[in-house]
Amino acid sequence: MLTFAEWDALRLSLSVVLRSVVLSLPFAVAIAWVLARRRFPGRTLFDAFVHLPLVLPPVVVGYLLLVLFGSRGPLGALLERTFGLQLVFTANGAALATAVMSFPIMVRAMRVSLEGVDRGLEDAARTLGAGPLDRFWSITLPLMMPGVLAGLVTAFAAGLGEFGAVITFASNIPGETRTLPLALYTALQTPNGESEAARLALISFSLGLVGLLLSELLARRLRRRLGP
């Protein structure tokens, strides 16, 4: 039913997005916590910076990543020297571009959920002998879990569709960086590629739908566990 190239794009998409959400998860939780709980000078600016990928053209994000993480970019050169990790033109690079683009979505979901956590419960944990880290792991994190899961799933679904930043930073290499949207774009550029494009569109559509349904289901189960 699906051609080898289509399977490849699907497999690659899932692998890239998985890497991207795993990479951004701890940072997203940390930044959501900082934005929800800390008051410091420059917080508004920091908040805006975190949300920047939402409003910038993806091509601009890709370009900035090239400047920073390219072989001659300051961070790119450092990573290549110390870990032998090359990001440009690789699946890891595609994952990084996807992670940056979906980061604000993830942070937002977690932050909203964290702001809903009753701080009185953390005070109660304090009087029961729990220190700051202990409180975070035993009270705050479990209570913001619906938001963490929602953030993960939405970032996963949105990441599947990332196009501009990926093609700019990681290029369009079959089997390495040609994810579903890139494959779809390529198919449209190819003579007689319409049926392939339609199938790829259907795959993307189904993946997104499954992702969103899954997230709703999880959220509902969590809510039931936490009670009304």
Binding site: R126, L128, A130, I139
Partner: protein, 389 residues
């Protein structure tokens, strides 16, 4: 021993309080809402930072502004029962109870089984907080705080969110805690009845300052309390030991000063100490020894003081021989009877008027507060109102 001196400014509101409790027992912080009660216990717990002062608990210094000591809340070992319970919604009752216990290893003055039995939690362990009634939730919160092996227990209006029946259900548990455990308790309330039932020491608060403090008996006579509870709820509190119990009528004879009072408190043993509130509006004064009346209680005494009240009434304080009672009379009656300071009077009170105002006094004075105490308090509670076993 607890010794508290605290100062805290929050915008327009300035708090400045000091109190001391020598042994175990219950300090009641009493006042209208907004007088700073909750702020005080937040400061004691370490959830808020004072501007100045000190918090001493036995030999430990938890806070001292001058010596720059400020022990973190999580290391103070002070149990806190919040008005809204604050049970962890993602844990069942058992895990809530164990939360504090796991974090305070070593110090075990109360055992898990003992706490569960004391608070009647055995059948609730597997439930989740949202499956509990308000009263059950507060019992679990109490148990959770107790199991963190606190050196001091703070209770912030634990009954405020409950309806009357649930209150009556929880009060005996609190009395049991007070009588069985040697942990000092700071109890915040705006219901004088709770104070009457539980407190050994009362701190009256108004606008962030202590306006009066002392034992329940002496505080019940202060004009400051009158200003807070209003003259309708005003009444002297007396404490006395049971001298005799009439098995058929269930009336217990209570020694009060030079006289005696007969109160409905069946099931209580001779020698038990009771606390009785005589509401000023329930008392009748006579200037001659009364004869031929159905009233069972008559105390003989001398007028100590007379204070004009609102709406043509007068508040008369009478020394009945080592104890003081207060009666409210109309100004007309006062003139007609020629009531005056130093005048010899007889104070009449119907036994039925005392129903609902009789409580077992704190067992502190009785060195052995065994199971007998708890069951006695339960019997009185049944007498007093809606106790559901």
């Amino acid at each position: 021993m607890i010794d508290i001196r605290l100062r805290k400014r929050r915008g327009e509101f300035a708090l400045d309080v000091a109190f001391h409790l020598a042994g175990p027992g219950v300090v009641a912080l009493f006042g209208r809402s907004g007088c700073g009660k909750t702020t005080i216990i937040d400061l004691i717990a370490g959830l808020l930072a004072p501007d100045d002062g000190s918090v001493h608990l036995d030999e430990a210094v938890l806070y001292d502004a001058r010596r720059a000591i400020n022990v973190a809340a999580e290391r103070r070992r002070i149990g806190y029962v919040f008005q809204d319970s604050r049970l962890f919604p993602h844990m069942n009752v058992l895990r809530n109870l164990r939360y504090g216990e796991e974090r305070t290893p070593g110090e075990q003055h109360v055992g898990f089984d003992e706490v569960i039995a004391l608070l009647g939690l055995t059948h609730l362990l597997r439930r989740r907080p949202h499956e509990l009634s308000g009263g059950e939730r507060q019992r679990v919160a109490l148990g959770r705080a107790l199991l963190s092996h606190p050196r001091l227990l703070l209770l912030d209006e634990p009954l405020a969110s409950l309806d009357l029946a649930r209150r009556e259900e929880l009060l005996p548990y609190l009395e049991r805690l007070r009588d069985r455990l040697s942990i000092p308790i700071v109890y915040v309330s705006h219901q004088f009845e709770e104070v009457l039932r539980l407190a050994t020491h009362v701190v009256l608060l108004q606008g962030g300052a202590v306006v009066a403090q002392g034992d329940v008996v002496s505080v019940s006579l202060t004009p400051e309390l009158r200003a807070i509870v209003g003259s309708e709820a005003l009444g002297a509190v007396l404490e006395g030991d049971i001298e005799a119990v009439d098995a058929t009528s269930g009336l217990a004879r209570l020694r009060v000063g030079r006289g005696t009072l007969n109160v409905q408190a069946d099931g209580l043993a001779v020698g038990r100490r009771l606390r009785v509130q005589l509401l000023a509006r329930d008392l009748i004064l006579a200037v001659q020894p009364p004869r031929g009346l159905s009233v069972r209680n008559c105390l003989e005494g001398k007028i100590l003081r007379m204070t004009p009240e609102e709406a043509g009434a007068e508040l008369v304080e009478i020394d009945v021989g080592g104890a003081t009672v207060m009666a409210k009379v109309t100004a007309n009656a006062s003139t007609e009877l020629a009531l005056a300071v130093g005048r010899h009077v007889w104070v009449l009170v119907k036994s039925v008027a005392l129903r609902g105002h009789v409580y077992p006094a704190t067992a502190m004075r009785h060195a052995t507060a065994g199971p007998e105490v708890a069951s006695a308090s339960r019997r009185v509670a049944r007498e007093v109102g809606a106790w559901n076993p």
